[in-house]
């Protein structure tokens, strides 16, 4: 097994490429988690966005329109969740799972009804999200492999992480959101409309989730398959937990998953049974979740312990 052909510079971009759909899902989960809403429905929102994007792109040939409409589709799905959970007090995991099932059902129905086939749909007419081509880089192998031909979404993803971090920790809106998620009563008595903020983050989450799906179907690939998200929405949620709801740390988590995903593909070429390879991201996610919470427990115990010398 050639170590060098697995771990080479192309792995860096491959990691970023694989991490991007998970990143948008993770950001969708982060923003709602700040309001103490676990967005289990991210998977369903993503799937809906993916399907919508392919549909619109196929019928209009316009990738930008497809992106916008998939964002709207994401908002519709997230608003169903929002109303059910906030107004009608549905349990968030229940309605999240319900949305996931709903997305599976309507996309299955849609692929037959609108695209005339079942299982999987692909067509050269699908307009993809463009890549940024910098002719200047083409001369150098490394620059070309590392920085050239990035999809718009991959760049935008990183920008989104920075925007969200700024919004959360430096703006008025972000401070209020953080209070809403941690102690809603305190926010209420400060005159903050807790429910309004919850609706706001659900809308943002729907937009991000829809974008995640759009990138998956017309950015990362050019097709739609039934259940195409295949757990990536949940990995986004896991990355959110990994980062303790901090966008920058969640991004690290996404890179980790992208990394294992890319390695997996390469190892597969060397005859490792495909299932073990495909399993890896999920096992790593579980481990990461466990380790981060275990470390938190250890940290808390240390802070509270009487045996530790008095801190000022």
């Amino acid at each position: 097994m050639e170590f060098n052909s697995i771990f080479d510079y192309t792995l860096i971009y491959a990691t970023i490429r694989a991490a991007t759909p998970i990143l948008f899902a993770a950001l969708a989960a982060v923003i709602t988690q700040q309001a103490d809403i676990i967005n289990i429905g991210t998977e369903g929102i993503m799937l809906t966005g993916a399907f919508t994007a392919v549909c619109i792109s196929y019928f209009t040939g316009n990738w930008f329109l497809a992106l916008i409409v998939s964002m709207i589709a994401g908002i519709i799905m997230s608003m169903i969740m929002a109303v059910a959970h906030i107004r009608y007090k549905a349990d968030i995991c229940a309605i999240g799972t319900a949305i996931n099932m709903f997305a599976l059902a309507i996309t299955k129905f849609g692929i037959k009804q609108f695209l005339g086939t079942t299982g999987s749909f692909t067509d050269p007419k699908i307009a993809a999200i463009p890549r940024i081509n910098i002719p200047l880089f083409e001369s150098n192998k490394y620059l070309d492999g590392l920085f050239n031909n990035w999809s718009l979404m991959e760049v935008f993803g990183i920008i989104m992480v920075l925007i969200m971090t700024f919004m959360l920790y430096r703006t008025v809106w972000g401070l209020r959101l953080r209070s809403v998620g941690r102690f809603p009563m305190a926010a209420e008595t400060a005159g903050i409309n807790v429910n309004k903020m919850k609706y706001q983050v659900m809308v943002i989450s729907g937009i991000l989730g829809g974008m995640a799906g759009a990138h998956l179907s017309i950015g990362y690939s050019q097709m739609f398959t039934e259940n195409m998200t295949n757990g990536r929405g949940f990995m986004g949620v896991a990355a959110m937990f990994f980062g303790s709801t901090n966008p920058m740390l969640a991004w690290i988590g996404c890179l980790l998953f992208g990394f294992t995903d890319s390695i997996g593909g390469r190892l597969q070429a060397y005859g490792w049974p495909s299932q073990f390879v495909l399993m890896m991201p999920y096992i790593i996610t579980i481990s990461v979740l466990t380790v981060s919470l275990w470390r938190k427990a250890v940290r808390d115990a240390k802070i509270k312990s009487s045996l530790v010398a008095e801190q000022s």
Partner: protein, 514 residues
């Protein structure tokens, strides 16, 4: 011109079937300190929460500054200059003092927070009212007294002219209280008006200009402070002559039932970590732990009862080492426990009276054979306990969910006392309980003592400690400041110890074994 800046008339408020406020009346003059008193469940907190917009009213009118207000929300109330400091502080643990103060009223540069401006403004309040706080610390890093000051500054920062304080002295020592009253007088001198919700009659008599009494949701009377006294107030609150001093018999002590040796355990705050506490309780005596809430009492009890890990030292129950044993084993060793938080620990609110009463005996005959439960036995057992302890309603299958504080506490007391352990730990047994129930609980504690059990009593209510205990242990910042015999104890020397000082005329007794 109306002299009242707040007028509440004929207020009605229902929570489901329960009538919390029935024709409530309250008015406030500008620049006065007006106390609103009553037993638990009297409706005083509810009245003020309605004024502040936390609950909508079901009837009546509210006027602020002469103009009628309807559909009040906290935001609207704040806009009209009303601020409220709640019993449970509305502070977000993970955010800093500064962030908590400015929350909702942030000084801004477009969408970004102007942190410098915020710091400057807060410093003004610290200097004007002499309230010491640290803006950059997180709430989970500061003391309770400081947190309260943060809450007050928060209301002032939001432009409050009317301050509603809900049981503010519940967490303060007698000396911190004095300082707190000075702050109140400073506020009054500055033209602010204060509503002081309390059930502590001595304090109310000290600080108020006028006093309004509520009883069972209804308005009783408003009196000038000069026209009344504590006995008069108590009578209005309860509607009968109140005898709070239950006769205390001298203890006839036997062997040691509880022996705590050099205990170290973790703490939620730095000041509540236990570092080297030793004390003992003998059969037939009541040992009272006095101290302001949050000085480690909760942690100490949790460590004894197996709900918190003991990091160093030992707990010995009737000769058996139970350190870090499971709660189940500790109970089997003869420990019973009335916890300080009946909603969290004491009861399962979602279950019926009978399921709650049988909770600690559920695996044993005759209530269960193996894993099969015997419903009839449990029912009969519950019925007899309900009768003995006067629990209302008297249906064993009734859910405990909507029980009042006093009734709920009776269920807990019934269960623990019936279990007839060797040691009974009673933690804040009268907190949030009406006077009638308090009397019966204190009577029950004395009966348990007369039956030869040992009782470890923890209370933040000094009067309760003084009236029940045979020996008093004072805790401060996780350590024992002193042990005083009942006949030597009074409010002054115990109060001093509670603040970490050594009372005049007392030799050093701090830290030693009782």
């Amino acid at each position: 011109m109306n002299e009242y800046i707040v007028e509440m008339s004929d207020i009605e408020k229902n929570f489901g079937q329960v009538k919390a406020v029935d024709k409530g009346q309250f008015n406030l003059k500008k620049g006065e300190i007006h106390s609103l008193i009553g037993e638990n469940g009297a409706g005083k907190s509810t009245m003020m929460k309605i004024l502040y917009g936390i609950y909508p009213k079901d009837g009546g009118t509210i006027k602020v500054g002469g103009g009628e207000l309807s559909d009040i929300s906290p935001k609207k109330a704040i806009g009209h200059g009303i601020g409220m400091v709640h019993q449970e502080f509305m502070l977000v643990n993970e955010l800093t003092v500064l962030e908590n103060i400015i929350l909702g009223f942030e000084p801004r540069k477009k969408i970004v927070i102007d942190f410098d401006k915020a710091r400057k403004e807060i410093k003004k309040y610290i200097d004007t009212y002499k309230m010491d706080i640290q803006p950059n610390k997180r709430i989970n890093q500061i003391s309770v007294g400081e947190a309260q000051r943060v809450e007050i500054i928060k209301t002032l920062y939001r432009g409050a002219e009317i301050l509603i304080l809900d049981e503010p002295t519940a967490v303060l020592t007698p000396q911190e209280c004095k300082k707190f009253f000075e702050i109140l007088n400073n506020l009054k001198a500055d033209g602010k008006s204060v509503v002081f919700i309390s059930h502590k009659l001595n304090e109310v008599m000290e600080i108020s200009d006028r006093i309004t009494v509520m009883r069972q949701g209804r308005f009783v009377d408003t009196v000038n402070r000069n026209a009344t006294n504590t006995a008069g107030l108590a009578k209005m609150m309860v509607g009968r002559e109140v005898f709070l001093n239950v006769e205390k018999k001298k203890a006839q002590t036997g062997g040691t039932v509880l022996d705590i040796k050099d205990l170290w355990t973790s703490g939620e705050k730095e000041l509540s970590k236990i570092r080297g506490v030793s004390l003992d309780v003998k059969a037939g005596e009541i040992v009272g732990i006095a101290g302001i809430d949050g000085n480690g009492q909760s942690e100490l009890i949790e460590a004894i009862t197996g709900l918190r890990k003991v990091e160093k030292g030992a707990v010995i129950l009737d000769g058996v080492n139970i350190t870090n044993c499971s709660p189940k084993k500790i109970r089997e060793g003869g420990l019973t426990h009335i916890p300080e938080d009946r909603n969290l620990r004491g009861l399962n609110r979602g279950m019926s009276i009978m399921d709650n009463l049988v909770a600690v005996k559920l695996d044993r005959k005759p209530f269960a054979k193996g894993i099969i439960r015997n419903r009839k036995e449990i029912y009969d057992f519950s019925k007899s306990l309900i009768k003995k302890f006067d629990i209302r309603p008297d249906d064993p299958q009734a859910l405990t969910q909507s029980f009042s504080g006093g009734n709920a506490q009776k269920v807990v007391v019934a269960r623990e006392v019936d279990a007839e352990g060797k040691l009974l730990i009673a933690s804040q047994p009268s907190r949030g309980v009406d006077i009638g129930a308090i009397e019966s609980i204190r009577r029950i504690l004395n009966e348990v003592k007369a039956n030869g059990k040992g009782i470890l009593l923890i209370s933040a209510d000094l009067e309760e400690i003084l009236s029940l205990s045979d020996r008093i242990v004072v805790m401060y910042e996780g350590k024992i400041m002193g042990v005083v015999k009942a006949e030597d104890a009074n409010e002054d020397n115990i109060g001093m110890l509670m603040m970490g000082g050594i009372p005049a005329g007392m030799s050093e007794v701090a830290g030693g074994e009782a």
